[in-house]
Amino acid sequence: MTARTIAVVTAGLSQPSSTRLLADRLADATRTALGPDTVVEVIELRDTAVDVTNNLLTGFPSPKLKEVIDTVTHADGLIAVTPVFTASYSGMFKSFFDVLDKEALDGKPVLIAATGGTERHSLVLDFALRPLFAYLRAIPVATGVYAASSDWGSASATGTLQRRVERAAGELAAAVSVAPEAKASDELTSLPFEQLLAGEGF
């Protein structure tokens, strides 16, 4: 089996960002679970924020954004991490997934994760991120990881977070190892015209 590629999409806004910090931990744990030759590609959405907005307005990605979209589309697995904004994922996070082709994540294992100020927002994983990826026909793994400010604080709390990270990463690794290898899907395909004429395929 060739080395697996994991794309990490992180929507943190500040630098350094706790969202990125969580993303890196998830990526490291996934690499540990999958093996050292795993390729990890980290995408900071803040670097493509303007390109994403432009894509929403023009309908096509800039060359830079195209590269990012291809990375995500062709990865074997995805780690998606967003800060919680106004009771949900951030607008920048959603906008990025809005410009992907609607089939780009078909069948792709995804580890969902979020960061926020308090534990009270932790269900955002299940009422916001999980439905989004279910809609895109991705396969969110069972464990999502939510990190509140307090998780970064005490030794015992960090221990708890790390256990969640490792469990989720293990689930992602397991899903990626059994998933078929991701393939480039941008080739044009069409039905033979006789079938189109007969109204088949609609």
């Binding site: 432009n54 307005l57 023009t58 096509f60 800039s62 069409s190 015209f193 189109l196 004429l197």
Partner: protein, 371 residues
């Protein structure tokens, strides 16, 4: 190689002076622009079809008929005629009528239209866009080619013993281009019938249209109409030209920045580097347009969008002078010299008629030989 312009027919406020033309002014301006296109030696004028503001051209054959009466040589076309929401019976008759009045200087480009609400206004559903295109076009072809049509389909009331009138001029239906921005099904349809394929080539990057055109060429060959490089390809393009590059950039920028299709997104610098848009001197427009051939192969028709985004009529007419006098003659010469002999020209009424006559003669000869 044919060169021309295609208009969207938008009524847009001129950002440089805040004035908005009336519908009447804009419609008259479009006609003036078409006449100018012939004066400066272009081959094609094409108008869009829209049924919602801010666009005015809801009735292309009326407009083209008016222009036909005042022109001699230019081919009158559309960009596009809505095959989804217009009745194919009416399209067949409108364009046959126009063909007669224009002495054959007519072809058309079919498209689906892009605004959801327009479909229900005409009793249709945008989700059926492609099936509507396929069924309506199949009927349109029959109406032009068969004297009496019995027909039944999904989207329209059946026809029994129906004859579309007038019959196409010389019994040669107008040549059809299929316009497309994104759908491979439309490339497939164009290839199946051996019709022309026109890639909008305005909004999106080259790589996208390379895929679509490559696919059309490959399917054209598959369906036995000729070699892939003999398929009939048209391309859009957009330019703003001034004798000096910097003047073009300065003058066009407010129009670009506020244009409904471009504005408030990528910078003009980004957009010109990522799409076919050229802002600059005649030489720069020539250079960039020549790259189209490198990307897409030898093609038959190049249409430029010159009159949108609130550009005043005076500016558009100046653009056409520069296009007709300084850009197109060079492009014509360059592209013709590079084109291999086996790659055909875009069909015209005359060439289609000649091809039809040649075929009939050949058939007669075969029959005589057999006897």
């Amino acid at each position: 190689m044919q060169f021309g312009i295609f208009s969207v027919g938008d009524v847009t406020t001129d950002p440089a002076n805040g004035t908005t033309p009336s519908e009447h002014e804009r419609i008259k301006a479009m006609a003036r622009i078409a006449l100018k296109a012939e004066e400066v030696g272009l081959d094609v004028f094409a108008t869009g079809e829209h049924h919602n503001p801010p666009f005015v051209p809801s009735s292309p054959t009326t407009m083209l008929g008016y222009i036909a009466a005042q022109t001699k040589t230019i081919t009158l076309s559309t960009s596009t005629t809505l095959i989804t929401t217009s009745d194919p019976v009416k399209i067949a008759e409108d364009f046959a009528m126009l063909q007669h009045l224009a002495d054959g200087r007519v072809d058309l480009m079919l498209g689906r239209g892009n605004t959801g609400p327009v479909y229900p206004w005409f009793g249709q559903d945008i989700r059926q866009g492609i099936p509507l295109t396929i069924e309506n076009y199949a009927l349109l072809r029959r109406l032009w080619r068969e004297e009496v049509v019995d027909w039944e389909g999904k989207f329209r009331t059946p026809l029994q013993g129906f004859t579309a009138t007038p019959r196409p001029l010389d019994d040669v239906p107008p040549f059809v281009w299929h316009g497309s921005i994104r759908s491979p099904e439309i490339a497939e349809l164009a290839a199946y019938y051996g019709d022309g394929f026109f890639a909008n080539h305005i909004f999106w990057p080259t790589s996208h249209y390379q895929q679509l055109i490559g696919f059309y060429r490959q399917r054209y060959e598959h369906y036995g109409h000729g070699k892939a490089d003999q398929a009939i390809v048209g391309l859009g393009g957009q330019a703003f030209i001034r004798p000096k590059s910097q003047d073009a950039w300065n003058e066009f920028r407010p129009y670009f920045d506020n244009a409904p299709v471009y504005g408030h997104g990528p910078s003009m610098e980004d957009f010109t580097s990522q799409t076919p848009l050229t802002v600059g001197s005649p030489q720069e427009v020539i250079d960039k347009t020549l790259t189209f051939r490198e990307h897409f192969g030898d093609y038959q028709r190049q249409l430029f969008l010159m009159d949108h985004a609130g550009l005043p009529l005076k500016t558009v007419l100046e653009q056409l002078d520069l296009l007709g006098e300084q850009v197109v003659p060079v492009l014509r010469k360059e592209l013709e010299s590079m084109r291999p002999a086996h790659v055909p020209d875009a069909p015209t009424h005359e060439s289609l008629k000649a091809a039809r006559d040649a075929e009939e003669t050949a058939e007669e000869t075969t029959e005589e030989t057999r006897v």
